[in-house]
Amino acid sequence: MSDSAAPLLELRKISKNFPGTRALDCVELSVFPGEVVTLLGENGAGKSTLMKILSGVWPEGSFEGQIFIQGKSVRFRDTRDAHGAGVAMIHQELSVFPELTVAEHLELDQLPRWIDWKGLYTRTQSFLDSIGLELSAHDKVGGLSIGGRQLVEIARALYRNAQILVFDEPTSALTESEVRKLYEIINKLRKEGHGIIYITHRMDEVFELSDRMVVLRDGKNAGEILRCENGTVKSRKEIEPKIITWMVGREIQDIYPIKNKKIGAQLCRVQGLTLRSPRGKTLVHKLDFELREGEILGFGGLLGAGRSETFEALFGIFHPSGPRGRGFNKQGNLWIRNKRQDLKTPTDSIRAEMAFVSEDRKGNGLVLNQSIQKNLTLPLLSKPSVFPSNPICQGSWLTSFVNPVQSAKETQRWVKEFKIKISDIEQPVSELSGGNQQKVVLAKWLLTNPEILFLDEPTRGIDVGSKSEIYQWIQRLASQGMGILLASSEMPELLGLCHRIIVLREGKMTSELVSQNTSQEEMMRAAAL
């Protein structure tokens, strides 16, 4: 790549607003022919939004700024326009039709009403051979490996004569040899003068492939560095600290209250926690840790490192009678206050004084179409009143009556306590804002009066005000002696709230850090290297 060449792609001053947040703020990105640009940034830094704009998912008019391809300004009304201009996305989750053949995939958007099958297969096969992909046009895509399907996506992009290819974490599901093959193909594309944008979290990949690294943070350009300048290749040691600083850059703001200082006796201990998916993939691998009263233990790591899975496995969500528990294999031991516990289902866990604020409010946190009252009281209802602490339902039968007066009273109390903005406790939770919904989730679990609280991304997608209120609550609960397990993809949040942090990568613990003596850089290294 030479400096004199005109850029293949230029994104100029791209800004995009979502209700309440500015996802992108004057972001610039250019790609030259024959260049691999890696796009880096934490979750929520704006990478995906930027790529959605580039691929036409967010059409012209929904954002500010301009896109130039080979010097010409282009406007995309939809993804088809982007295809037409030579931009192709190779998705993380591959969108393929298992029953169609490779050939049909290649010509999918131009199949005529009557298909000349012979022509189709000879045409596509000779194309596949010419670009050197080891694929048979006759194969059904459903029968291919994940790596194979990815090749189909790449072939499809090239068949459409795409000049700019965007790879969104393409190696996350590939085997070692498939990854090698992918690198070869990318190198070949580079030689042929394609422009490539490569999104990844893995530092190894960054240094294996990229000519230039662009870092986004909080929707802005945070920094940019060339691998090779004035004929010398910069070493990894030289570049890496810069990238990491750019990625995590922001200072820990004082929205974090003072940490609880009263750490008490051991509350629970976990030994050898292992979780395997139905397909035999190890999601969590031999995890050991302990939690003390009043302690906040953080779980860090990149997307897919196994944070949520660790929590969900401990809480019993993967039990076969649950909605998505079939075929999971969970092992490991748990002691609560030095008593061995075998908690199979969430019901067991709730009765053992645990509570789980889940990552996905809409997915498994709330019953959206139901009232605040019904949502708030649900977990408490699964605690039979052998515990004298159940004010809203005496009796342990399924047919035991719910006390409507107490139920409304408890709801009112927590709505007030959390300053949840509602018009009526019978209002459906779907009408609340994200922050208020999250408070409902937190409140419904605190209503069960737990000793151990799991918080999985407790502040995802909510406004700063609600965030800081929730932080206050977390410290207050810890000071009352509750043990808290907190998973977050935001490193400042972990550092600002937790006493200790366990960093996970691919389901394994890579390090256990004491947050007083660590830094975001150290965490990033443990998570990504």
Binding site: S321, P346, L378
Partner: protein, 381 residues
């Protein structure tokens, strides 16, 4: 709060629609529709569909469906008939006749219950779509009914057994029962604190319905037994759904199974239980139907599942689960029953009846979804 002054007509919409239909039919039949005799018959006709609709409400609330109820009605009716005729339980002497009757009814209920266990077990254990499992059960139960009955009707049944479908509580006792339950309802409504305008509407409707029932059951032969059974089951269903832990769990499970599971709702147990209960209710309906006909027909109960589903859906329960009431389904059952009854009185040909019924079901659901679409708000008592 000024919302107290506003009347929430939404709750009474189905009731008003029902009154409207009844009024129209009364006009067209020149009053025949509203005679004591016809209303008594109507309520007896509604009873079986109503019993099924109460159970079906719970199944649909958890996001399921049961297509097998019609066939299960036939199969359990045949089992009752088999016990009555082939085992001679209907021919016992005066003193021990009640044993035969009880055994026959229990046999029918147990048969239905077993079918429910089969449905629920396969659905929860192997995660096969309820639609498929119960479709299979529908065909299996029909086949078994034909096998046991050797393809023909089993009759006549014992006189005491037939009382279950044909008998009446005497008019005097009926009036006591109706007035009694009406007063209990009123007492509850009066003792409610902070009464809103809507609550007064509820009082008015209670008075109106009680008077209608008194009118119907004093002037002919009294309360038919099936109606009493239906009323009991409906009451239990309403209380379970609105007042108990189970009710909250069912609504949560239907609204979002993942969230319900995370909150400790025993999903499998509840799902299984609900299919079993609907099976048992279908068994009971089978016994009542064969008693009413004085004979068990292996071809009975055809399309009962669709009538029950229609009643539930007309009553405002969402087929997606999580939203709905038992009360709505009861009204839905009366709605369909009134249409059937009224059109027969008017001598509308059965062919046209089907078309009209279908159109009305579609209209009712269309109206309901359109109403609900903007906010998907659930405002149920």
């Amino acid at each position: 709060m000024n919302s107290n002054r506003k009347i929430n007509w939404k709750i009474y919409r189905s009731l008003l629609a029902l009154f409207l239909v009844m009024g129209v039919l009364a006009v067209f039949t020149q009053g025949t529709f509203l005679t004591s005799r016809n209303l008594t018959n109507l309520s007896r006709q509604v009873a079986i569909n109503g019993i099924l609709a109460v159970g079906m409400t719970f199944v649909i609330l958890i996001g399921g469906i049961d297509l097998s109820v019609g066939s299960v009605v036939a199969l359990s009716g045949v089992v009752a008939g088999f016990l009555q005729v082939n085992l001679g339980l209907g021919q016992l002497n005066e003193g021990s006749q009640w044993i035969g009757t009880t055994l026959s009814i229990s046999g029918a209920v147990f048969t239905g219950l077993l079918c429910g266990v089969f449905n629920g077990w396969l659905i929860t254990r192997y995660r096969i779509a309820p639609f498929i499992i119960t479709l299979g059960m529908m065909v299996i139960a029909r086949g078994l009914a034909l096998i046991f009955a050797k393809g023909a009707a089993i009759s006549p049944l014992g006189d005491q057994f037939n009382e279950l479908g044909q008998g009446y509580l005497s008019p005097l006792l009926s009036i006591f029962l109706v007035l009694g339950s009406g007063s209990v309802a009123l007492v509850f409504q009066f003792f409610k604190k902070n009464k809103t305008a809507s609550d007064w509407v509820a009082v008015a409707f209670t008075v109106l319905l009680t008077s209608l029932a008194v009118w119907a059951f004093q002037g002919y032969r009294g309360l038919p037994y099936p109606v009493i059974i239906f009323a009991g089951i409906a009451l239990i269903g309403m209380v379970l759904l609105q007042k108990t832990r189970l009710g909250r769990f069912v609504l949560a499970l239907g609204g979002n199974p993942e969230a319900a599971w995370l909150a400790g709702v025993p999903i499998r147990k509840i799902t299984l239980g609900i299919y079993v209960v609907l099976g048992a209710l279908a068994g009971l309906s089978g016994a009542i139907l064969s008693a009413r006909l004085n004979g068990a027909l292996p071809t009975a109960g055809e399309l009962f599942e669709l009538d029950a589903i229609a009643a539930v859906v007309i009553g405002g329960t969402s087929l997606l689960g999580g939203i709905g009431t038992v009360r709505g389904s009861i009204l839905g059952a009366f709605f369909i029953g009134s249409l059937n009854n009224g059109m027969s009185l008017l001598d509308v040909s059965e062919f046209y009846q089907k078309v009209i019924k279908g159109v009305i079901i579609i209209l009712a659901v269309w109206f309901d979804t359109r109403e609900r679409a903007p906010s998907r708000a659930v405002k149920e008592a």
